[in-house]
């Protein structure tokens, strides 16, 4: 007991004596609020960008992170990507135990060094050095020190102190030193609830934040980028793969991209041009011509990523894609653009953040943004957007990968921010018409016809190419709540012209209606039960965001054996609220037939966090009503 006391005193004493960052290696100096809901704590993240010139920047950084548990291991993040433009001057890691004792040192040569080629890419010249570390005990602390120069100055990393969920930040600081001939621009985002310390004098910009609690991931929350505090940083003058430029407006940016990266890649042979002209000569208008060309591209090409040097930003030549029949998003988009051009149709190369999360371009901050390229065709009524890497999507359909967000459209005249197609509640329609017959034993024999549109089309069109065995499995999973299901007919039609996915299915299921003595319990909704209930949170933190709405309309005719009569029947339901609506109706046709109608709408929209429970309850109620049962009772005829 006494001994233990001594140890405590000793620890306390040494802590007080230690100056500077040394105490960041000990776990007991972490402010308690940073341990809440956190798997790791960034003790210090210090990075300095020294812009030596437009041609070169020198980056120095130190990142001390305490990993609290096994889930935190993935946040070590001690890695460095490099290519021909990046020279690593220093790279090392120091490992400390919970008491701050140094237990391991890892030199640059002990980092794993491998090609950094992600899935879907055939080749890229990017490489990565990374640390593979085994924790002996939790918690432990990693100090990662790096120093490198980069001749691509287009990508100054922004100041993003929180970059993942469940990681808190004790201190994060960021400095840019720059010469007179460079202008640095910044934009602060999401600092309402966080204090940003900043210092700006000529030639130096410095930001700092302290004590940010861990973010928690919650369902139906806004995009991370719209919640996390960050300062976007860019330099007006920069160099990319040896080419220098200066951009102040989106127009400058567009001009640079168009003239330096895109313009001279539209080469096509006369033969190809002639072929395209012949292909569309009988088409009545630009829309149908463009459709024909898009389908031609879909049949001719496939997605293969190859990125070498400037090829990370500059598309393959159209002639090259024409010859090879493959390309990455830039190459395929640009190829389509060139073919449209040959047919006299103007279209624009468009940069976008692709992902279902609908991240928009920062409208008022001119900088390198986005991770994907699509094509924009200005049309009289409505712009057409094309995803050129897909061989399957219908003309003009982009789905949830790039819908409803601000993107940068680049044209010979410059660039402008436009908004991509939004799929509305009415667009995302699923209509079901079904009928089933219940046997004396409670088995059902079901015919179902489903038509899906909009995002609901997007969710299902992949089924078209499933093998019969996997399709059978997919339906058994969709209707997993029906035991003893056996499917004997599956007809699928992918109507690309009207963007409708049509499914006709016939199946049987034994013991569907539960027989209990003289009664038979029958769940009316057989084929479209809402089984999704959003997760419950003890304390919801983020506002509610429903990114896409939808509408389901079902009509089911149900017949049962003559000797059974209705004993009790669920009531018709109407629920309407700001999140959507739910309506059911039951029409009795005769003594042994009824028609069950259901309409379920979820609207897209943004709501305060206080609404989350109500939103969740709405789903719960729908789920409950979808299980409503008719009680049938045997009568002596």
């Amino acid at each position: 007991m006494n001994f233990k006391f001594c140890v405590n005193i000793y620890v306390l004493f040494t802590t007080m004596l230690v100056f500077g960052q040394e105490n960041l290696h000990q776990v007991n100096t972490i402010p308690p609020e940073l341990l809440e809901k956190s798997n790791a704590v960034i003790r210090l993240n210090e990075v300095t960008y020294n812009m030596e010139s437009v041609q070169k920047m020198h980056v120095q950084g130190k990142r001390i992170i305490t990993i609290l548990n096994a889930h935190g291991d993935k946040h070590i993040d001690a890695f460095m990507h490099y290519d021909g433009n990046i020279k690593i001057k220093d790279l090392k890691v120091l490992v400390y135990d919970a008491h701050g004792n140094l237990i391991d040192k890892i030199k640059e040569s002990d980092f794993k060094d491998v090609s950094a080629v992600s899935g879907g890419t055939l080749y890229s010249d990017s490489r990565v050095k990374y640390l593979s570390h085994t924790a002996i005990n939790y918690p432990y602390t990693i100090e990662f020190i790096y120093d490198f120069t980069d001749e691509n100055t287009a990508f100054i990393r922004s100041f993003v102190p929180v970059n993942d969920f469940l990681v808190s930040v004790e201190k994060s600081s960021y400095t840019v030193n720059y010469p007179r001939d460079i202008t640095i621009k910044t934009k602060e985002k999401n600092f309402d609830d966080f204090n940003l310390e900043k210092e700006e004098v000529e030639g130096i910009i410095h930001f700092e934040v302290k004590n940010i609690k861990a973010f928690k991931d919650e369902a139906y929350s806004p995009e991370f980028f719209d919640m996390a505090p960050m300062v976007l940083v860019t330099s007006t003058e920069f160099q990319l793969e040896g080419v220098q430029t200066k951009v102040e407006t989106w127009n400058d940016f567009g001009n640079w991209m168009y003239h330096d990266l895109i313009k001279d890649t539209h080469d096509l042979s006369e033969a190809t041009k002639a072929k395209i002209k012949a292909l569309v000569k009988d088409e009545p208008n630009d829309y149908s011509k463009a459709k024909k060309i898009y389908e031609y591209v879909q049949n001719k090409t496939r997605y293969i990523g190859v990125q070498v040097g400037i090829g990370g930003w500059k598309p393959f030549n159209a002639s090259e894609v024409d010859a090879l029949g493959y390309g990455d998003c830039k190459g395929l988009t640009n190829y389509t653009l060139a073919l449209l051009q040959a047919a006299g149709i103007k279209s624009n190369y468009t940069v976008v953040y692709a992902k279902a999360s609908q991240r928009s371009f920062e409208n008022d901050f001119v900088s390198m943004q986005g991770n994907h390229v699509i094509l924009n065709i200005p049309m009289e009524n409505e712009d057409v957007w094309l995803e050129c890497t897909s061989q399957k999507l219908p003309f003009g359909f982009i789905g949830d990968f790039t819908d409803d967000r601000d993107v940068l459209v680049i044209s010979p005249e410059g660039a402008e921010i436009k908004h991509t197609k939004k799929y509305t509640v009415e667009d995302n329609l699923q209509t079901i018409k079904a009928n089933y017959v219940v046997s004396n034993e409670g088995a059902i024999d079901v015919n179902i016809h489903v038509v899906s549109e909009g995002i609901q089309y997007d969710d299902k069109y992949m089924l078209e190419t499933e093998t019969e065995r996997d399709l059978d499995k997919a339906y058994k999973e969709r209707w997993g709540y029906i035991n003893r299901i056996s499917i004997d007919e599956m007809h699928i039609e992918n109507n690309k012209t009207d963007v409708q996915f049509i499914e006709n299915i016939h199946f049987q299921a034994g013991n569907y209606a539960k027989k209990i003595g003289d009664r038979m319990l029958l769940t009316l909704n057989t084929v479209n039960r809402n089984t999704h209930i959003p997760d419950r949170y003890r304390n919801r933190i983020w506002p509610l965001k429903v990114k896409r709405g939808f509408k389901d309309v079902d009509e089911i005719e149900i017949k049962w054996p003559a000797e059974y009569k209705i004993e009790a029947m669920p009531k018709a339901i109407t629920i309407e609220n700001k999140f959507g609506s739910y309506k059911t109706a039951i029409e009795t046709i005769d003594e042994n037939t009824l028609i069950y109608k259901r309409e379920f709408i979820i609207k897209d929209g943004a709501f305060p966090k206080e609404d989350y429970d109500a939103f969740r309850n709405f789903h719960k109620e729908v789920s409950k009503q979808d299980n409503a049962k008719v009680a049938l009772i045997k009568t002596n005829l």
Binding site: K37, S115, T134, A135, N299, D472, N483, K514, A568, K620
Partner: protein
């Protein structure tokens, strides 16, 4: 007569096939085919798959392994486009490396009735460094369209005579015609290990060959100039060849609950058994299990690592000095190693840094940790032995091979029985190996280097026993207390998911697993005390647990605990179902019914089982006053269930889902 018939058939088949499968001789008929004749669901198919591996003598380097590959693939639709990209892995170690050469590749399309071919551009061949020991070369063919054919050939020169890539005879797409050949000089003797369900028998033959060595001979004659002359010398030897000729091989299809699909993929592995150079003794690699074990045992990274003691002696002596009970000693040492050592995620039965260094750093691979453990147990006077294991990912070792195993655990033999130990997982217990190591049988190695098989699947069932006391309210809401007891593998799985993680997150996941059920007073008793089962308890409130229709209430007495879906969805199955370990699930539920209601009907009590007692389900329900008592037991008695029982298994689960869904009916008084 017979011979001539065979010869004739052979001749005929050569003329019909040899022509077709020459490189570049892609026919119009092949291009016109739109659907695979043997499997209409195939997105692509190998029309021809050829591989020949043989030895070539290279001056100064000695024998090199040469592999020639020629593949012709029909692509029916977009799902098959991935077959237009070929990836070849190449191994290297210092200056020794495998070389990919002579790539020739074409795409064939039918354009206006004519065969159009396009060559692969050399610029489109990319080399990637995957690690210090592995490079990768990749290429993708141009102009891939539905219906096209890609064809390529290449050769790989390798210095690794003891590491011949497996011959893969079954792929995820069908193979129309497969030819393969392996040829080795008499100096290298390989064992051939066949895996999978296809009947594969090679044609074996021998051929003669020779190597001509040319030596420069110098002769000097006193004061006169030195003269050189060349002498050549022939070395004659015999080559052993085996060849395979297969056609219409069906595609290999994934199924759920298969421990590793590659166990069922048809393939042949050539493993070097021994080398025998002229005038030198045989050098064994492996042939029999004895040879394999001896080979592994004699490797300095195994046997001698096991013998090292100095680095731990003091610590272990201090640990067990006052204890004489052997079982207690085993427990103490096992816990000591688990506490001290952290596994670095590497699998191997050979040590990497060595046990001594690992002990000092407190980090090691599987061999370092479990050989150290074995050595310490021996030091404590216990009969401890290393056990070679193949992890589930590594497949089942059917033949004596070194590569067949990739993992090692420890076994202590007590008069009462064996105790299997794996100290790489903190929460593993004696005879509860981590799931990845539960793969049929391991091989236990005695002090003398002998070995025998040892069953790895647990004999003891893992239990999950749930006790629940609930109040069902009039509005269909349920309120109650839950308690569960988990043993063995169920306890290990729980500890793996629970202990090192954020508790609040865990709780939220638990709540949301049951659609946002409200949980309070959550408690896990002594999760770190491995001598006890895991006891988890909480109180809960769960809405809408009964249907109220008219004046009746309907509900399943298992409520949210019932299995609502049959996990087995495929109509047929080719491979065994692997449950990892035998298990028992028990539910004891006591329900207080709402006032003002009486029981109108209840599900019948009863039991059913799978053939041969593989699975047993029991359901026992009784009502007394306003209380319902339910006891449900379901046992899976074997770790592995063969496909012959699949229909029975599926039916059993279907019946289980149905029985658990059966309802109690209450009516208002």
């Amino acid at each position: 007569m017979r011979i001539s018939v065979i010869l004739l058939t052979l001749l005929v088949s050569i003329t019909t096939f040899a022509q077709d499968y020459d490189f570049g001789k892609v026919s119009k008929e092949e291009l016109e085919e739109t659907v695979n004749p043997i499997d209409s669901s195939a997105s692509a198919a190998y029309l021809y798959k050829f591989r020949k591996t043989y030895f070539q003598y290279v001056k100064e380097k000695g024998f090199q392994v040469v592999t020639e590959v020629h593949e012709r693939i029909k692509i029916y639709n977009q799902e098959g486009f991935e077959y237009a990209t070929k990836t070849v892995n190449l191994y290297k170690n210092g200056n020794d490396k495998e070389d990919l050469k002579n790539i020739k590749a074409y795409t064939y399309n039918l354009v206006d009735g004519e065969v159009e071919k396009e060559k692969l551009d050399k610029k489109a061949i990319f080399k990637l460094e995957q690690s210090k020991y592995r490079d990768q070369e990749k290429f993708t063919l141009p102009n891939i369209k539905n219906g096209c054919i890609v064809e390529y050939k290449y050769r790989v020169d390798s210095p690794y005579i003891s590491n011949i890539d497996d011959y893969i005879f079954q792929e995820e797409i069908p193979i129309k015609k497969l030819e393969a050949e392996f040829e080795a000089p008499e100096y290298f003797v390989y064992k051939q290990n066949v895996r999978g369900y296809l009947p594969i028998t090679p044609i074996k033959e021998t051929r003669n060959d020779k190597i001509t060595f040319t030596n420069m001979v110098r002769s000097s004659g006193g004061m006169s100039a030195t003269t050189s002359s060349f002498q050549s010398q022939d070395v004659n030897f015999v080559k052993n060849r085996s060849s395979y000729n297969l056609s219409n091989i069906p595609a290999l299809k994934e199924e759920a609950y298969v421990n590793n699909i590659n166990n069922y993929r048809s393939s042949v592995k050539y493993e070097l058994s021994y080398t025998k150079y002229p005038d030198s003794p045989m050098d064994y690699y492996s042939t029999t299990w004895e040879a394999v074990v001896k080979n592994i045992y004699e490797n300095p990274s195994f046997g001698s690592e096991l013998d090292k003691k100095g680095y731990y002696e003091d610590d272990i002596d201090a640990l067990i000095g006052s204890i004489s009970d052997p079982v207690q000693r085993a427990y103490l040492i096992f816990n000591f190693v688990k506490t001290r050592m952290k596994w670095n995620s590497y699998h191997s039965y050979y040590t990497n840094e060595g046990v001594k260094r690992a002990y000092k750093d407190q980090v090691g691979n599987v061999a370092e940790i479990n050989l150290m453990l074995t050595s310490m147990l021996r030091h404590a006077g216990l009969r401890a032995y290393p056990v070679l294991v193949s992890t589930r990912n590594n497949g089942v070792p059917l033949f004596p091979t070194r590569e067949g195993y990739n993992y090692v655990v420890s076994c202590v033999r007590f008069p009462e029985g064996d105790m299997l130990l794996d100290a790489t997982n903190k929460y593993a217990m004696p005879n509860v190996l981590p799931e990845k190591a539960l793969n049929w049988q391991g091989r236990i190695i005695s002090e003398h280097g002998g070995s025998e098989l040892i069953d790895l699947y647990p004999k003891k069932k893992s239990l999950n026993s749930v006790f629940m006391m609930v109040n069902l309210h009039e509005d269909g809401n349920l309120e109650g207390a839950y308690r569960s007891i988990k043993t063995n593998h169920n306890a290990l799985a729980f500890r793996d998911k629970y202990i090192d993680y954020n508790k609040e997150e865990y709780l939220e996941k638990l709540e949301n697993k049951y659609d946002g059920m409200e949980v309070s007073e959550y408690e896990v008793k002594d999760p770190l005390d491995l001598s006890k089962p895991i006891t988890e308890s909480y109180k809960f409130v769960k809405e809408s647990q009964a249907d109220i229709i008219g004046d009746k209430m309907y509900f399943s007495p298992l409520f949210f605990l019932r299995a609502s879906e049959n996990p087995f969805k495929l109509e047929e199955r080719a491979y065994p179902v692997d449950f990892s370990y035998p298990q028992v699930t028990k539910f004891r539920i006591q329900i207080d019914l709402p006032e003002g209601y009486k029981v109108e009907s209840i599900p019948e009590s009863g039991a059913f089982k799978m053939p041969d007692n593989l699975g047993v389900f029991k359901y026992n329900l009784s009502v007394q006053d306003n209380k319902v008592q339910l006891m449900v037991n379901s046992d899976i008695n074997e770790s592995i269930i063969t496909p012959a029982y699949y229909a029975a298994l599926k039916a059993y689960f279907s019946q289980l889902v149905e029985k658990q869904g059966e309802q109690i009916v209450l009516s208002r008084i």
